[in-house]
Amino acid sequence: MSRLRLYQIAVVAGFILLLEALCLAGVIDKITMPPPHIILLDFFRMMMAGRYFDEIGKSLANVLVAFVSAYLIGVIVGTILHGHRTTREILDPLFATYYAIPVFAFYPLFIVMFGLGDGPQILIGFMLAIVAVIVTTLNGLDRVPPVLKKTARVNGLSALQTARRITLPFCAPYLLTAAKLALAYAFIGVIGSEFIMARSGMGYEISYAYTNFDNATMYPLILLILLLSIAANSLLSRWEKILLARRGQG
């Protein structure tokens, strides 16, 4: 465990030091990328000054809307589909090929349909996230052992009781995986759309800074997005691991 951690820290530190050395040596010129320690200083300056807090808040709010709606609707659709075998078989090829489709290609269409507001961005995040939730929910429900279902029937549990006492607890790790995927996809969808075309938000600010050669803004914002998504991902992954470990012991 600690050896693994050390290894990981060494890789990250080595990568940053390499970048620093390359920047200071002039192999990477200043217009392309400022040295990491400058980026870090800019980052703290930006955070202390509270600049872009509105933009950050707006992006995160849109991510949240996309995530929550995709998650709730996805779990409901997944549960319903689980009971409809034929419909599920028909939709299966769609699910199998869905993530091969460039969902972002719909963005221009959504802009034409709904205007250049929050709607198209949330919709892209929602579309990217929902199928992962449906597929993971189905996957979890498939794995509920028949013996548990039979026990429920023998004990005369109602549908609601079965869901609360058996299906939900059993599927908890899958529901968590679904949440992790949905959050990552919602994030990618919203930030990505803002980046391609928008009037505000973190993604927009990055692309604006890029067009203005404003590296002192661009790099700290990129760093912020990387930190946010990696933090969310590793937090949920850890929780997932704890749930799975508990299952293994119990």
Partner: protein, 248 residues
């Protein structure tokens, strides 16, 4: 086997017809302001395909995509094998690769643009970074889960590492590696188009973004349609091969 294949075929037909019906209904509700019907879109696509300019954009996208895919597969395989053969490295790097996989890579695009300049090399680099990680992750897992008896046999025969990879690890890992390449294929295509949508002077993604500023709904719909049909049909074909490899 025969009735099952028939059922799969029937389901695919129902799905495709269903999607077209939904599209037609959406068109009837929204109207000409923002949508085109399936038939209008296909007609416009047919007309578009007769222009030289379209083929220029398509060729540019495909060229960037092909090079990006080769880079993604080669680097992905190298990383996957290197990490798969060394246990500690594999265990340490796998979660890091997964975390990298989940970041919105598009935010890294400005850095690539600054490094490569606007043009085909930036598109290639951006497409490739989308594809490398899935290829690497699938390869890593395939190598790690190779049946120990195969590896032991190789050791007993005193195979050199190169021969070991060529004769034992690679053949054993082929089905998983193919899955990685299939996923990498899709993501590289998405990455290439995404890159074109943000900054490019050529390619299908550029055509799409350009159509917004011209408010050319025909163009938007037909290019979107083309991209989706292209991505979906290639992926379905790869999926069929993939399933054969896993069950064959």
């Amino acid at each position: 086997m025969q009735p099952q294949e028939n059922a799969t075929f029937r389901n695919a037909v129902i799905l495709i017809v269903g999607l077209f019906v939904v599209w037609e209904l959406a068109y009837l509700v929204v109207g000409d302001v923002a949508l085109r019907s399936p038939w209008q879109t296909i007609q416009f696509l047919g007309k578009l395909m007769q222009t030289d300019l379209f083929w220029l954009h398509l060729a540019d996208s495909m060229k960037a995509f092909a090079v990006a895919l080769v880079i993604a597969v080669v680097l992905g395989l190298l990383i996957g094998f290197a990490l798969g053969l060394h246990r500690l490295s594999g265990e340490a790097m796998e979660p890091m690769l997964v975390a990298l996989y989940s970041i919105p890579k598009i935010t890294l695009y400005p850095i690539i643009l600054l490094a490569f300049g606007i043009g085909i090399s930036a598109k290639i680099a951006f497409g490739a970074i989308h594809g490398i990680i899935p290829v690497a992750l699938f390869t890593l897992n395939a190598v790690r889960t190779t049946r120990p008896i195969l590896i032991k046999t190789g050791r007993v025969l005193k195979l050199s590492p190169t021969v070991m990879v060529r004769e034992i690890l690679f053949p054993a890992a082929v089905p998983e590696i193919f899955t990685g390449i299939r996923v990498g294929f899709s993501l590289t295509l998405i990455g290439t188009v995404l890159g074109e949508m943000f900054a490019a002077q050529r390619g299908l993604g550029y055509l799409l973004m350009n159509a917004i500023s011209l408010y050319n709904i025909d163009l938007i719909m037909s290019v979107t349609f083309l991209l989706i049909v292209l991505a979906a049909s290639v992926n379905m074909a790869l999926l069929v091969i993939d399933r054969r490899l896993h069950h064959g």
